[in-house]
């Protein structure tokens, strides 16, 4: 086993609850949901018109003054990542070029890593339309020859950079002067768990002192919402404007609600964290990942052999299943997925039925950002000894068997397990431990 331990010393979240850990954790403890009507674009024709939108978001207020002009070359996913990173570093108390441009960094830039999961970023349709409309033929049809000759000049020269998934990491490394290993994992909803798992190895392998890890994404885009509608995964909003909410594992679960935002953790070598007197929220003690070869059938529910990923995370942590005190489920609210997920947890935990929670009903499904928020919730639960509520949960659905509650509860929590799965049939899980200053 590695000598180095992985401390979580900062938690950044940007979600439908607002900016930062406080509104997020308050929401999760209240049992309420921040999912509501989507204002970002006109959803009047969509089968679902609600989502977990980050309210009143302006990235400009979350980047250093000298970096504000760069915001215009950031897709919303990137803006959310940059704001989330700002929250995470500030929460950790580490001084970086991004948190204080004039001060000395309190971590060696070359030993500060970055690993931010990202999604497939869709280009802004208004921007594309305004450029493409200049390249139509006599019948009003888009003409690729005209586009190549003239139309492309109507796009911003940096157009491509606005949508590259590695730009989440790149902007964050530039803003905070993080020169260590930098990665960008693009595995849908499991991206953030994979990122945190891999980044924790950077710490235990001794190649970084600290690393920012997790994910960010906005699925609240006309094309993303349409794609999820095509996959028939969405909870539907009726003509009355009601419905469309995500009710993980609940009898009334009928699909998911999309969200947006980011969840990023500062993972730090425990000795480094102790030396600077940092607050330690929890430790990352185990990681595992797996897949299901049947995952290529994308229109069929699949949880990516989540039971294997979870079992590996427990083995990696040296834990037995009955040591799990809290389960943070992925809980998409898609009925068939909920059932398979519940089965997977049962397969790995057996008769042990620890308190569980799913946060998707509260903030919507954040995809690449989802795991970051889920791990943030797990860390806060261990730190505050509180089991968060599962919003929109009243009674267990048939075929689901998790120990959920619609209200938050006090707990006696040492170990938490969090896992996720994604379209394509991939899964990942992380085990977190309560930090004990005596150990």
């Amino acid at each position: 086993m590695a000598d180095r331990r992985v401390a979580i010393t900062g938690i950044g979240v940007v979600t439908a609850a607002g900016i930062g850990i406080e509104p997020f954790w308050q929401l999760l403890c209240s049992g309420a949901s921040a999912v509501g009507p989507i204002d970002l674009f006109d959803t009047s024709r969509y089968p679902t018109r609600v989502g977990g939108e980050v309210p009143d978001f302006s990235a400009r207020s979350h980047v250093p003054k000298s970096y504000r002009k760069s915001v215009k070359v950031m897709a919303r996913d990137i803006q959310l990542a940059v704001a989330t990173a700002d929250q995470a570093f500030r929460h950790s108390g580490l001084v970086t070029k991004g948190t204080d441009e004039s001060a000395e960094m309190t971590v060696d830039p070359k030993r500060l890593g970055c690993n931010i999961g990202a999604g497939l970023i869709c280009c802004e349709l208004d921007e594309l339309a305004a450029a493409a409309i200049t390249s139509v033929d006599a019948n009003g049809i888009f003409d690729i020859a005209k586009w190549g000759a003239e139309g492309i000049n109507n796009l911003n020269p940096l157009w491509l950079l606005k949508y590259l998934p590695n730009m989440l990491s790149c902007h964050v490394t530039i803003i905070h002067s993080a020169m260590g290993p930098s990665n960008c994992i693009t595995c849908g909803d499991v991206s953030a768990h994979l990122a945190v798992g891999e980044a924790s190895r950077y710490v235990t392998d001794g190649i970084v002192d600290a690393v920012i890890a997790g994910g960010a994404e906005s699925k609240l885009h006309p094309l993303s919402l349409l794609r999820q509608a095509l996959l028939k995964r969405l909870s539907l909003t009726g003509d009355d404007g009601l419905g469309g909410h995500c009710r993980p594992f609940d009898v009334a679960h009928e699909g998911t609600a999309l969200g947006e935002g980011g969840g990023l953790l500062i993972l730090e070598d425990l000795a480094h964290a102790r030396r600077r007197g940092a607050t330690i929220y929890a430790e990352v003690v185990g990681f595992g990942a797996a897949c299901d070869p049947a995952g290529i059938k994308v229109t069929e529910a699949n949880v990516g052999s989540l039971h294997l990923a979870a079992a590996k995370a427990l083995a990696d942590a040296g834990m037995s299943p009955d040591q799990v005190d809290l389960l943070i489920a992925h809980g998409t609210g898609v009925a068939a997925e909920d059932e398979l997920e519940s089965d997977a947890w049962k397969q790995v935990l057996g008769d042990h039925r620890p308190p569980a929670a799913a946060i998707t009903g509260a903030i919507g499904l954040m995809s690449a950002g989802a795991g970051g928020a889920e791990l943030a919730a797990a860390a806060m639960a261990l730190h505050t000894q509180t089991i968060p509520a599962t919003a929109n949960f009243k009674a267990l659905a048939d075929g689901c068997d998790l120990n959920l509650a619609g209200q938050s509860r006090p707990g006696n929590l040492t170990y938490a397990l969090s896992g996720a799965f994604t379209i394509g049939g991939q899964s990942a899980a992380c085990a977190l431990k309560r930090y004990d200053p005596e150990q």
């Binding site: 020169m179 849908g188 006309p222």
Partner: protein, 429 residues
């Protein structure tokens, strides 16, 4: 402290110069260019009209049954062909002890083939009174969009196809650190084996950006060569007259496992991964750090990881894209590592001069050329190098392959946005 040794026991590739390793290698040693006018979409009016395309490729020639992958994207089909070659060379079908939950798939694959013409046509048709009518856009898009075509664009779908093809249930990662992705994938996959997390890794990359969106994006960035009158000489890494990189496409896949495992099952060892380093420029999204500090840091980290000194490196496979900036900065970075006297740096070449830039798949493909260089004791050339640039003053193995005594090779990749990765390998032992 002893650690597990990570060896390569299989490799496969589908690229503009060949649909397998040996034909690719023969073309590279002969200094042949894989670049020609774009045929896979209507590009004749773009600022750049040529690319390095994979031609006459049929997945059915590579798989026992290609039918389950009918919906796979162009790059996923390249990856499946490359993965099958690698799997076969490693003889994993004969490995009855293989625990399929302990086989990682760690890929650096790009997004699928973005349907730019279709998306552009939809937004144009939904343009009403000087703006995009969202309701109209939704209605016409809902009618024409296909769930499989859309979902296959997710970059993790390539790994999903590989898992299905080989019936694997181990960890899956896909990373998309632009032009460095597959080097990073291989480096991280090697780490998983070293730490004992998995027994075997299927790793590499796949990408095709030869589509209207990719060409638009890179043309707008003025990153591409526009030498439309002479495509085969357009990719000119380190030459004074270089004017940008040439888009390529393809896939390369490697099989990694521990030395102990490979020898125990009698697998032929092709090479050993001895060092890996990663860094970030943390400079600008549009430019590399002009001092080359980030790239040098990745090379230093790989050397430290390997426990080697710069003098141990016999050959460097450069990132060498053929843009003014990359080649100058990379040269500077190499000199930072190997010494300011250019004679101290090992011979360095860029196969992008022949293959074009395979973007996410570039690093894995270049690592395969390093494996072959070690095997055959010959270094592939940098073609189209006729006019020296005073800022690029290393030995780039101009125009003709060269026999040499090579024991250790280094391969560099640098992603747009400042993500740098370096791998170091040694030959079969």
């Amino acid at each position: 402290m002893s650690r597990r040794r990570v060896v390569i026991t299989g490799m496969g590739t589908v690229n503009p110069l060949g649909h397998d390793v040996e034909s690719t290698w023969a073309a590279l040693l002969a200094g042949r260019s894989g670049i020609s006018p774009i045929e896979i979409f209507e590009a004749a009016t773009f600022p750049t009209t040529f690319a390095a395309q994979v031609k006459d490729y049929d997945l059915a020639d590579h798989l026992p049954n290609a039918e389950p992958h009918a919906a796979a994207g162009r790059h996923a089909k390249f990856a499946l062909g490359a993965a099958r070659q690698a799997w076969q060379q490693a003889n994993l079908d004969a490995d009855t002890d293989l625990d399929r939950s302990r086989v990682a798939i760690y890929m650096g694959c790009g997004e699928g083939r973005l349907l730019f013409e279709k998306l552009s046509d939809l937004v144009v048709r939904a343009w009403v009174d000087g703006q995009l009518d969202a309701s109209r856009w939704y209605d016409i898009s809902w009618e024409t969009m296909d769930v499989f075509e859309e979902t296959e664009q997710e970059s993790n779908m390539v790994a999903a196809h590989i898992a299905a093809e080989f019936n694997l249930c181990g960890p899956v990662f896909n990373v998309l650190t632009a032009c460095a992705a597959s080097t990073q994938a291989i480096g991280e996959a090697a780490g998983q084996i070293r730490r004992g997390e998995v027994d075997v890794a299927v790793t590499g990359g796949a990408h095709s950006m030869i589509h209207a969106s990719g060409l638009t994006g890179f043309n707008r960035l003025t990153a591409l060569s526009t030498r439309n009158d002479d495509p085969t000489s357009a990719s000119r890494p380190f030459d004074m007259t270089r004017d940008g990189f040439v888009l390529g496409e393809g896939s390369s896949v490697l099989i990694l496992e521990t030395y102990e495992r490979a020898t125990a099952r009698g697998a032929a060892i092709l090479a050993e991964i001895v060092g890996y380093g990663a860094s970030a420029d943390a400079f600008r999204i549009t430019d590399q750090d002009p001092e080359g500090l980030g790239a040098a840091q990745a090379m230093h980290a790989a050397l430290a990881d390997a426990g080697l000194s710069p003098a141990d490196i016999d050959y460097v496979s450069a990132h060498g894209t053929g843009t003014q900036q990359n080649d100058q900065v990379e040269t500077l970075a190499i000199k930072r590592v190997f010494g300011s006297d250019p004679a101290k740096a090992p011979p360095t070449s860029s196969v992008k001069s022949m293959l074009g830039h395979l973007i996410a798949a570039a690093g894995a493909t270049e690592l395969i050329t390093c494996i072959l260089a070690l095997r055959d004791q010959v270094m592939p050339p940098t073609i189209n190098l006729h006019t020296p640039d005073p800022d690029c003053d290393l030995d780039y193995i101009p125009n003709e392959s060269r026999k040499a005594d090579i024991r250790v090779a280094m391969s560099n990749s640098m992603g747009f946005g400042g993500q740098n990765n370096t791998l170091i390998i040694t030959g079969a032992t």
